[in-house]
Assembly symmetry: C2
């Protein structure tokens, strides 16, 4: 186990009708609220009206900024920063999924800075403070509701970059699984792939003596896989929706990575696909992860054997370690296909002529990852395993 | 899954030499510090000097209150409250194990109140605020370093009572497993029993659809049991010490109980034994828990079957569900004996003539527990199963 810090102060308010707890979170503390959301879905579902009624009841001034898209854009963030400064916003309330939350986080830190908010993402400025952020989560996937990260896409030049800082962890996250019952299948399963990937990125490590977090990772992976299959058959199964929603938070609040060296290479590679083609984040991961695994498993065969046995219950009888490891990877591929996600660029209808460009971009800031350190040539090989 | 709130804001600073991070936690924020600890062990180990040097370096005024005993006493708490009020303490630093931390928590809330701090424990006053609390943990067991609870013993009348409030969660907990290498075997394994009990109290529930937290509980229990056996053979195994230390925090910060109905009956019964005989907390639990399990398992046979299979790998071939469940309980008894703890009042050399008195006391405030609601007669029967 490595030395580590773990800090996850976000108050999770979980369950049916938990939006009714919104008032208690803000009472007497916040006045000027920036309500940040995506398209019309929260209006259709009635959540918008519920939230507005509560904010009105607590005498808040509400300023709205809607229109957040998947792979949230810098343009809208800049607009939000201006608004937050002008209106003296003291709480941002993000109502939606990971894109809305990441966009809100960017606005929160941007408003505390005289320069351009993009500076944080390029590393040209360091995060110092933020406007407090509350979340009402409607779509489990990115774990942003309790994470320290924000990922923003700069439309000029197709750059998708991240900031990570403890100050970005939301104050509270209201999570009602009822909101997720009607999510389209495509979103549900792309989200599930994102959740699993957050665990993979912590689970595949060379750090020794990590019994506890291994077992937490494996238990969370098994739970996600089991309940994904339930949702495939029965999308309105509230119990399964609840398990997935909670797993999404746990997968990325830092808990599962305590004391472990992690590896974010696959996320990094996937971001280049999203930046270039707008591919849904979870679908980049379902394409990249199996290829990454095939490319790196020999770096630590034992870990892939443990994955195969403890997550996919691969039988070990009469098999070499390598066979067991590969069977684990193939079980994951089967799972991904079963939930209707792509496992190759071709599945997603993506061209092959920009592999070199994306590999160049992904490694521009230096090699990726830790489990196996990836240079541009390695990334090209991974893309080729994912053709 | 039930609706729930989860809030665990304590910053965990974990690993070898993590005491070096103390300065960063207090810099520029705290001036008058109450250093609270037990006997001389932190002086022998050199930790006292290290801490004092850091506090001096940051220009803190340090006031000391030592002498905390196991089952921490109200008398010392009252002394601490007086001192904290008089010296305008702005941070309490608890250096030690659960008793020191619980005592520090009591001082923290007591200093914000004009009446007697014991009122919080009897329920005659409600917690409103506290002096912030930092922890340097030297003994993993109670989980108090990140929990919302404090348990104090009133010497007058042998009462041991608890307060639970989110405000009692420490600001930070510095956890260096090196400190635990030299813990006496008795303390180590009593602590391990306390840790396991915190999981049992959440795991044995009637709440349905708790896949994720089930798997987190089971993984944590397996990790604790595996590493306890390692420490039995090799007490100076740092990797195993680290796993146990981290498991102790996770077991009681609320994570494993998310969305579950919990049951604190066994802790409550054990507290009466400690109040009357001064029995070490973990040793009351190793006596009570197996008896409680034998008394209640029929209330939810499936859960005890799951426990037997997923925690102790009990084989199911040619066995009835009841046999599997009982084999799980017996596996726990074997484990308890293997780590040298008592499983009966007789093992601990306790008399049997106060069972009625303890059962009366334990249920004075109403029946205990939820898995099976226990009246005085039930508690007597449990004690009799533990004779």
């Amino acid at each position: 186990m490595k030395n580590f810090k773990f800090y996850s102060p976000t108050k999770i308010v979980f369950g049916e009708r938990s939006v009714n707890q919104l008032g208690r979170q803000i009472a007497g503390k916040y006045k000027n609220i920036l309500l940040h959301y995506g398209g019309g879905s929260i209006k259709k579902s009635g959540l918008y009206t519920e939230v507005m009624n509560i904010l009105k009841e607590y005498d808040c001034e509400v300023y709205e900024l809607s229109g957040v898209e998947p792979n949230p854009k810098l343009g809208l963030v800049r607009e939000g920063v201006k608004l937050a400064k002008k209106k003296d916003i003291d709480l941002i309330l993000a109502v939606g999924g990971g894109s809305v939350i990441d966009s809100a986080k960017a606005i929160g830190i941007g408003a505390m800075y005289d320069g351009d908010v993009w500076d944080y993402y390029t590393g040209d400025a360091s995060v110092r403070g933020t406007i407090p952020l509350g979340v009402i989560l409607t779509f489990p996937a990115t774990g942003s509701e309790a994470s320290m990260g924000s990922v923003i896409t700069n439309e000029d030049g197709h750059r998708k970059l991240a900031v990570n800082h403890d100050i970005l962890r939301p104050l509270f996250a209201i999570m009602d699984p009822l909101y997720t019952l009607t999510l389209p299948s495509k979103q549900t399963f792309a989200g599930i792939m994102d959740i699993l990937s957050h665990i993979f990125e912590r689970y595949f490590t060379h750090t020794k003596n990590v019994d506890l977090t291994d077992s937490l990772c494996e238990g969370t992976m098994r739970t996600v896989i089991k309940n994904a299959y339930i949702l495939k058959k029965d999308p309105r199964n509230l119990a399964a929706r609840s398990e997935i929603m909670l797993a999404g938070t746990i997968a990325h609040n830092g808990l599962l990575g305590m004391g472990r060296e992690d590896d974010w290479a696959s996320h990094g590679i996937g971001h280049e696909m999203s930046a270039l083609y707008g591919t849904t984040h979870g679908r980049t991961l379902s394409i990249i992860f199996p290829a990454w695994m095939k490319y790196v498993y020999k770096e630590n065969l034992d870990r892939f054997v443990q994955f195969a046995i403890n997550v996919f219950s691969v039988s070990v009888v009469n098999k070499s370690l390598e066979q067991i490891a590969l069977e684990g990877i193939n079980s994951l591929i089967t799972f991904i296909k079963d939930i209707g996600l792509p496992v190759s660029l071709e599945d997603e209808g993506l061209p092959l002529d920009k592999i070199d460009f994306m590999a160049e971009r992904a490694t521009e800031g230096g090699p990726l990852g830790t489990f196996k350190v990836l240079k541009k040539e390695d990334v090209i090989r991974i893309f080729n395993l994912a053709r």
